[in-house]
Amino acid sequence: KVEIDSFSHYRIYPSKGRLFVRGDSKVFRFAGHKTERLFLQRKNPRKIAWTVLYRRMHKKGLAEEVTKKRTRKTVKHQRGIVGADIAAIAARRNQSTQVRTAARADAIAKAKAAKKEKEAKKAKPVARPSGPAPKISKQQMKGGKSGR
């Protein structure tokens, strides 16, 4: 198993390097004398220019990593709804404009005709006396107590 150096984050191949267990039982791995010394001198790896931590912090050499990123495109699936299955939706969508305008004209004509009919019907019941109902007070309707 290839380990990682605790200081520089380099790889430590098997049989290389040292393992240091500190008094608080924390384990540190060192690739070699260099990292071990720096660690024991309590240097901050973020300030040592050749360590991976420094490079990450200062964003060095990340161009290769960035190109790897691929945006995930979500694929949209067409689904039919309860009222209209996929075939109906597709048919609707694929109607040419001519067909559409023709359909619209039809609809308009129909609506107009319907409207005319309605108006004709309305005219008749107006003749009927449908005046407001005689005003009966609520009390009378409910049969309330006589006012005495």
């Binding site: 098997p14 393992l19 267990v21 039982s25």
Partner: protein, 141 residues
């Protein structure tokens, strides 16, 4: 690498704090330097004061000036593992034994090196709360 006069902390609950190496018990007459897993003879240099209650309990409490055997469990000098890895601790530490190679105390504090298991001190390794487990065991074919 603990030799004559080398001091180490005792990390079990026997009551001793610091011990000093007096002799390293090895079969050959190699210069008396002990490493992890070696049995040594120690003198207790500093021990925890024994309260009256403690004297009643089963744990053998050691006093200053006692001579005991011990086994080294941590060294500041790095120890090589069979896979070529080295492991090193921040201090030297040992655990007290009696002459029959049994532990004097009942509990062990802190990390111990898993080289102990290699050298036959499996019991101590199993008692320890944490064993540095970066230890390559050769697989049998």
């Amino acid at each position: 690498m603990l030799g004559l006069k080398g001091t180490m902390t005792i990390i079990d609950n026997s009551g001793a704090l610091i011990a000093e190496c007096v002799n390293v018990l090895k079969a050959k007459s190699t210069p008396g330097v002990g490493t992890v897993g070696d049995e040594i003879v120690v003198v207790i240099k500093r021990a925890r004061p024994i309260s009256h209650n403690a004297a009643l309990s089963n744990i053998v409490k050691v006093r200053r000036g006692d001579v005991h055997r011990a086994v080294i469990v941590r060294t500041k000098k790095e120890v090589m593992r069979p896979d070529g890895r080295y492991i090193r601790f921040d201090d030297n530490a040992a655990v007290l034994l009696n002459k029959k190679k049994e532990l004097l105390a009942t509990r062990v504090n802190g990390v111990v090196s898993s080289d102990l298991r290699m050298k036959g001190w499996g019991k101590i390794a199993s008692l320890a709360p944490k064993v540095s487990r970066y230890y390559f065991r050769p697989r049998s074919i």
